[in-house]
């Protein structure tokens, strides 16, 4: 016999008891057979029940046995109150699931170290200060020649790795007609060996692949892309594809665990940095610099060394620069170089979403606490109903901890059921939220493993939840004094105080959730209702590329062809669509003065672009076919005001001053209304629309490699024409192909993706919090009326008025609600500065923003309180007195 048999015996308790019983019976039967008197034999045997218990205890693991008994008992309790148990489990499941889901997202994006050797030694270099656009900011992009100097200087202390921003690029494996998108990233050849990444197939890059510009047209695929695109075909090695102007050969597939250093994007294709056109340019910043420290090297001296090199490099580059204002020059040279830890990699999504996810995490935590308070109140009310049972248990010798264990086991059972359903919810909801993050043509992809980290979090959360809602009621229930129960109940007010405290907490958290949700919803509303200055109606955007570059006259032919298609109303061209998020800027010089500190923003457009976008012309004329760059331009009102202090600027000219010192004289032929250019959140930019036609020095038309055709369709759904137009573009000229089709509306909506996500989720959790708090309030009020039925009956018999009764019922609760609301308000105002960067044109102190949670909670309180008050008023004093 062993521990194992004692564990097994726990689960066959009844059989065990029967066997012991049988053994006893055999003993007595044998005694009788030997001629003893049955009465005497039984007496001599002693107290059978006690002996049986002793034997039972010897044959089982004691604590496990009591646990099993508690589980069975707890399960029966839960089953007895089916509706309340179900409500409690559902609300807890939702809250636990939401918290786990939030943790999965935060962990995957912000906490999980990269699967590389020694992620703790990774740092990222950035510059902080005033940028070329005269605005303060932090910039983590670098120029390659400077990177080479820094890498040489850091030798021995650290390895520097260049990693370009993953780009959704056009690649073709066969003909240009079968162009597809892939996330492409230029990386230093020594990245794989430095990170300790092994090939899954073929070979990875080494330093030798990254020595001379353009010398190594090789590509490494990520495991994910290899599986998705090629079905893990081992023959992929040696295949080639076109990207840009080059042909690349696939040499290997990287290890499965490594998906790049940008959480939120899974890289498909890696290419050596030396294949990037910017690799010899000192004025082109296009990649991040990751520092891998050698063990035992101090960070600060290295940072100072790299900062000195950067400073010297920039000073040298910008010396004698005539295209920048002296002030900008001074500011840019004063930029600080930062070296920050980056064990989790570095990505734009991290920067965009860390606040947002943090805020969501706090919201779901609040919902969890509200749910816990609810269940705690439920358990307290049940404990009151079970006071007699507890008193009985104490009287027959149950120890206090035994009772605590019994109630806690019941709580744990509840939490466990909730956690299991919550896990299902988290399993579904985390990928769902990720899918909402980016526009459909460039989905965010986050590795969301359900591993020991998530499991550990879930278990810890469940334990905490059990303690949160179970411990207090358990301690209260176990502290029961049999004497006071016999006297007719202990002090009912202490229990009420506990429940009212819980209500105050719930209201405070609920207020906070509603307040923050209100801020997010208002932000989203303001941003999406903000006029952009142009119309998106029926606009289809065909992002088109040509290889090699084509003369803009050819591009015009394509536009003409599209215009002739049925279902097409208008076609215009632009270098890119408005609100695509890209820009082209330069300084402006007026009357031969110095270059401006403020930058102007440029864009090539075709004649008729204003009409297609429905941007009104204020004065002057539109561009004409005969206009050539830079002789005729259209500026917006902000430009006119900012650089010329005037609205009537038609006929005046300004000079565009480039970094390289060149100046181009531009004649203003028209002024247009302001319209958003790059993003809806930033202040209105001074914008210049310039013609596509650009004569070179020798008199031939300049060539263009990318344009966007902006098509106004006749049908309400512009995407209906997408497939046809895509084919037509290539029909005109086989060198042209559409790389991406979307609508202007999609682009506009993509501007507020984060705000929409926050508003939707915050609204959802606000509703859940309100519902839970309302249910909690209803439960407590109902309970207290039930407890005080006798008292109320007597009062009414003695002539109390209906409103007096209602006031009495509501008195305690009102105070709790008021305290909770004030606490919630204080919490809200204190926390608002952490989310300020997520808000748009909305202040925490706006009357409307404050009114939303106040009114909603008031309404919820009234609705939740009504049934209890009605019940109190309907109490029949005669019936009450008769019961007694």
């Amino acid at each position: 016999m062993s521990l194992w048999s004692r564990v097994v015996n726990v689960f066959r308790g009844n059989r065990l008891n029967r066997e012991i019983e049988e053994e006893f019976e055999t003993h007595i039967a044998e005694a009788v057979e030997q001629g003893r008197d049955p009465e005497e034999a039984r007496r001599a045997f002693g107290a059978a029940t006690q002996r049986r218990q002793e034997s039972h205890d010897a044959l089982v693991v004691g604590w496990l046995d009591s646990l099993r008994a508690d589980l069975v008992f707890g399960w029966r309790q839960l089953k007895r109150n089916k509706v309340t148990s179900f409500a409690a489990i559902l609300s807890l499941a939702l809250a636990i699931g939401a918290c786990t889901s939030a943790f999965r997202l935060i962990d995957a994006l912000l906490l999980r170290p990269l699967p590389v050797a020694h992620p703790e030694r990774l740092y990222v270099l950035s510059r902080q200060g005033i940028g070329f656009d005269d605005k303060p900011g932090s910039f983590d992009s670098w120029m390659y020649p400077c990177f080479q100097l820094m890498r040489a200087a850091a030798k021995g202390d650290a390895e520097l790795i260049a990693v370009s921003y993953a780009d959704r690029a056009d690649v073709t494996y066969k003909t240009d007609q079968e162009m597809e998108k892939a996330n492409l990233q230029h990386v230093s050849g020594w990245m794989f060996p430095t990170f300790g990444i092994e090939p899954a197939l073929g070979r990875l890059f080494t330093e030798n692949d990254d020595l001379k510009p353009g010398a190594a047209p090789y590509a490494v695929l990520s495991y994910d892309y290899w599986s998705r695109r090629f079905g893990r075909d081992p023959n992929v090695i040696g295949r080639t594809f076109h990207f840009g102007d080059g042909v690349y050969q696939i040499v290997g597939v990287s290890e499965k665990k490594f998906t790049g250093t940008e959480p939120g994007t899974i890289v498909d294709i890696f290419i050596p940095t030396m294949m990037h056109r910017g690799v010899t340019r000192s004025d082109w910043t296009w990649f991040r610099t990751i520092v891998v420290m050698k063990p035992g090297v101090a960070g600060e001296p290295l940072r100072a060394k790299l900062a000195a090199i950067t400073h010297a490099f920039e000073e040298n580059r910008l010396r004698g620069e005539s295209g920048l204002s002296p002030e900008t020059l001074k500011n840019v040279l004063a930029n600080q170089v930062l070296m920050e830890p980056a064990p989790t990699g570095v990505s734009g999504m991290q920067q965009d979403y860390n606040r947002a996810l943090g805020a969501l995490g706090v919201l779901v935590l609040m919902v969890l606490l509200i749910a816990c308070a609810n269940v705690a109140n439920l358990m307290t009310a049940q404990a009151a109903a079970r006071a007699r049972e507890m008193a009985l248990r104490v009287s027959i010798g149950a120890g206090r901890w035994r009772l605590v264990q019994m109630v806690l086991v019941e709580s744990a059972l509840l939490a466990l059921l909730a956690a299991a359903s919550g896990a299902l919810f988290a399993w579904w909801s985390a990928p769902f939220v990720v899918s909402m993050i980016n526009p459909p043509d460039n989905p965010a992809r986050l590795i969301l493993p359900a591993d020991w980290r998530v499991l550990g979090f879930g278990i810890a959360l469940t334990l905490i939840v059990v303690l949160l809602f179970g411990l207090l009621p358990a301690l209260r229930a176990s502290s029961v004094k049999p004497v006071s129960i016999l006297k007719g109940g202990d002090d009912p007010h202490s229990r009420q105080r506990l429940m009212h405290g819980m209500i105050a907490l719930q209201v405070a958290f609920c207020f906070l959730v509603l307040f923050v949700a209100g801020l997010f919803v208002t932000t989203f509303e303001r941003l999406s209702n903000k006029p952009t200055g142009f119309s998106t109606e029926r606009l289809l955007l065909l992002e088109t590329t040509s290889r090699p570059k084509q003369s803009s006259l050819y591009w015009d032919q394509v536009a003409d062809h599209l215009r002739a298609m049925p279902g097409v109303e208008r076609v215009s061209q632009a270098s890119w669509a408005l609100l695509k998020g890209v820009g082209w800027n330069d300084s402006i010089s007026v009357n031969g003065g110095p270059p401006s500190t403020d930058l102007a923003y440029f864009m090539n457009v075709s004649p008729g672009f204003l009409e297609t976008m429905r941007i009104p012309l204020v004065s002057g004329r539109d561009l004409r076919e005969s206009d050539t760059y830079p002789n005729a331009v259209i500026v917006n009102e902000t430009f006119a005001r900012k650089f010329l202090n005037d609205v009537n600027v038609v006929g005046r000219s300004v000079e565009k001053a480039s970094d390289d010192g060149s100046r181009e004289r531009m004649q203003i032929v028209g002024v247009m209304r302001d319209a958003d250019y790059r993003g809806v959140r930033e202040p209105m930019l001074p914008v210049v629309f310039v013609p596509f036609h650009h004569m070179g020095a020798t008199g031939e038309m300049r060539t263009v490699s990318e344009e966007t055709f902006i098509v106004r369709t006749a049908s309400a759904n512009p995407l209906a024409l997408a497939a046809t137009l895509r084919q037509e573009v290539s029909k005109v000229h086989s060198k042209f192909h559409v790389s991406n089709v979307r609508t202007q509306l999609e682009l506009n909506q993509a501007q507020t993706v984060r705000e929409r996500l926050l508003a939707t989720l915050a609204f959802f959790f606000g509703a859940v919090a309100l519902l839970l708090a309302g249910v909690g309030l209803y439960g407590v009020l109902n309970y207290s009326v039930q407890q005080r039925e006798r008292e109320i009956g007597i009062r009414m018999a003695l002539g109390a008025q209906v409103d007096d009764v209602a006031r009495r019922v509501m008195a305690g609760i009102s105070v709790a609600v008021a305290i909770g609301a004030v606490a919630g308000l204080a919490l809200g105002l204190a926390s608002v500065r952490y989310i300020e960067s997520l808000l748009y044109q909305v202040k925490a102190t706006d009357a409307g923003v404050l009114a939303i949670p106040c009114l909603t909670i008031l309404l919820a309180v009234v609705i939740a309180a009504l049934p209890a008050v009605l019940r109190a008023m309907r109490i029949d004093p005669v019936a009450m007195l008769r019961v007694e």
Partner: protein, 79 residues
């Protein structure tokens, strides 16, 4: 049990039922092995048998008992 009281000439007396918890504890300790057998009467009974470990334990406990009692006896004689 009756054997105990007879052999000790009624000095040691115990409830017969208390034998079983003791047996069960010894069984859990692995000193004895139990088996259900069916008697001629059709009734099932549990038969216990000393194991090797049980024999060892018995020897150990017996020798400890001897040591203690002889020590006590020696003390009683000298006083």
């Amino acid at each position: 049990m009756s054997a105990i009281s007879e052999m000790s000439e009624d000095v040691l007396r115990a409830e017969e039922g208390s034998l079983y918890p003791a047996l069960h504890r010894m069984e859990e300790a692995g000193w004895i092995l139990a088996e259900w057998v069916t008697k001629d009467t059709g009734r099932r009974a549990r038969v216990y048998e000393l194991t090797a470990a049980g024999r060892k334990q018995l020897a150990a406990v017996e020798s400890r008992w001897e040591t203690v009692t002889s020590a006590v006896n020696r003390i009683l004689r000298t006083v």
